[in-house]
């Protein structure tokens, strides 16, 4: 199984078109291996990105430097996945 330990999902709130464009720039940075669950659209519309552990610091610094507001939507993805698996096993049992 792919391991998602330490991956977080960030919910980002771009306040204006300039901030939306800044978040779009992140999409092009392949090395960060970001997974856009909800892509950038309009100002005010939340953007959800799954960020691997190794990219977390860079992304957060980028957002803070651009004064783009974000919150942590899912703190540790793997723990949610573990819960999901446990529940499925429990129902089968």
């Amino acid at each position: 199984h792919e391991d998602f330990v330490g991956h977080q999902v960030l919910r980002i709130f771009a306040a204006d078109e300039a901030q939306v464009q800044k978040v779009k720039e992140l999409e092009d940075l392949q090395h960060l291996q970001l997974d856009f669950w909800k892509g950038p659209t309009w100002p005010g519309s939340p953007i959800d990105i799954r960020v691997p552990f190794h990219s977390l610091q860079a992304v957060k610094i980028f957002l803070e430097a651009q004064d783009i507001r974000y919150e942590i939507m899912i703190k540790d993805l793997q723990s949610l996945l573990d819960e999901e698996q446990e529940q499925m096993f429990a129902f089968r049992a």
């Binding site: 199984h1 792919e2 998602f4 999902v9 919910r11 392949q30 997974d35 856009f36 669950w37 909800k38 892509g39 659209t41 959800d48 799954r50 939507m73 899912i74 993805l77 949610l80 996945l81 999901e84 529940q87 499925m88 129902f91």
Partner: protein
């Protein structure tokens, strides 16, 4: 294995094998109403099944519903299972659904991307695309919702095989897409086509590849409003509605743009709920409420389709 669709647990997520077993059980329990059609085989050679709900007739006007084209959107496949059971329960009981099925057929494809779905269970829960290999690339899969022959290759899809929105090399390159295209073309009498995704609580209609309004925009908008109102009446889940391009973003090569261009007027795509901010990891406890509320919207669209023949 579960021996009856009555003891099947609709409030948990299931593997591909469990869902395929469910299909067989449902067909066995309701042979006069439900049949299973194989419309193709996936890239990895898995069968692609569609349930046909029919009370008779020959090539009746039909409604198509698909779930799970993006494999990680597990609440959609789970909702599809619930819809299938709901149809068998309500036929003969609910006058509206009975009326629909006495005049039209319903086709339901619960696992539209079986390879991707199996992969989400075995290797990578976050997998979205198909599992086809691309020559000269290490990256796997095509976004099947960018692979349709409607504005294919325009903005709103990617030519990069490593992108989650990779469109593929040519329209219908994915057998999962081509199988539906063949089926729809061969059938020739599909009047409504509803493709179900998650998450972000939207009901969308064409177009996604162009800002040109669809010729039936006014009617589609009114119908979407009615459907969303019905949906929200159950649990208060808030939905937005509108054309794909104006409501979310430009997306080329998408399913319902193609179906609309084939003359299927009532072409819609849903983004189901995440009212708890879990994204693709919607807790299983929300499967049934999600399916219940979505069903009300589906009924609105299906009834409208029945009552507005074209």
């Amino acid at each position: 294995q579960v021996q009856s669709t009555n003891t099947f647990n609709y409030a948990t997520y299931h593997t591909l094998e469990e869902i395929y077993n469910f299909l067989d059980l449902l067909v066995a329990e309701h042979p006069q109403l439900v049949s299973k059609i194989q419309i193709g085989k996936t890239y990895e050679d898995r069968p692609i099944y569609v349930l046909k709900f029919s009370t008779g007739g020959n090539n009746r006007p039909a409604i198509w519903i698909d779930t799970g084209i993006h494999s990680r959107e597990w609440v959609t496949q789970a909702s599809g299972v619930w819809f299938a059971k709901k149809i068998t329960q309500d036929y003969g009981q609910d006058p509206a659904l009975t009326n629909i099925l006495n005049n039209m057929d319903i086709f339901l494809e619960i696992v539209t991307n079986p390879d991707g779905f199996a992969f989400t269970h075995s290797k990578n829960r976050m997998w979205r695309k198909t599992r086809s290999l691309t020559s000269n690339s290490l990256c796997v899969g095509v976004d099947p919702n960018r692979n349709w022959d409607a504005g294919f290759g325009n903005a709103g899809s990617s030519s990069n095989p490593c992108s989650e929105q990779y469109r593929g090399k040519f329209p219908n390159s994915e057998v999962e897409v081509q199988s539906i295209v063949n089926f729809v073309n061969h059938h020739g009498n599909i009047k409504a086509f509803i493709s179900i995704h998650s998450y972000s609580q939207l009901l969308l209609y064409p177009y996604g590849y162009t800002s040109e309004p669809a010729p039936d925009k006014e009617e589609l908008d009114k119908l979407a409003k009615s459907a969303v109102t019905a949906l929200s009446s159950l649990y208060g889940t808030k939905y937005k509605y509108g054309s794909i391009i104006t409501t979310i973003y430009q997306a080329s090569g998408s399913t319902v743009d193609w179906t609309y261009n084939q003359g299927i007027k009532y072409s819609f795509t849903f983004e189901l709920r995440d009212s708890g901010r879990y994204g693709f990891l919607l807790p299983a406890s929300q499967i049934v409420p999600t399916a219940q509320e979505t069903w009300l919207a589906l009924m609105t669209i299906m009834e409208h389709t029945l009552n507005h023949p074209y």
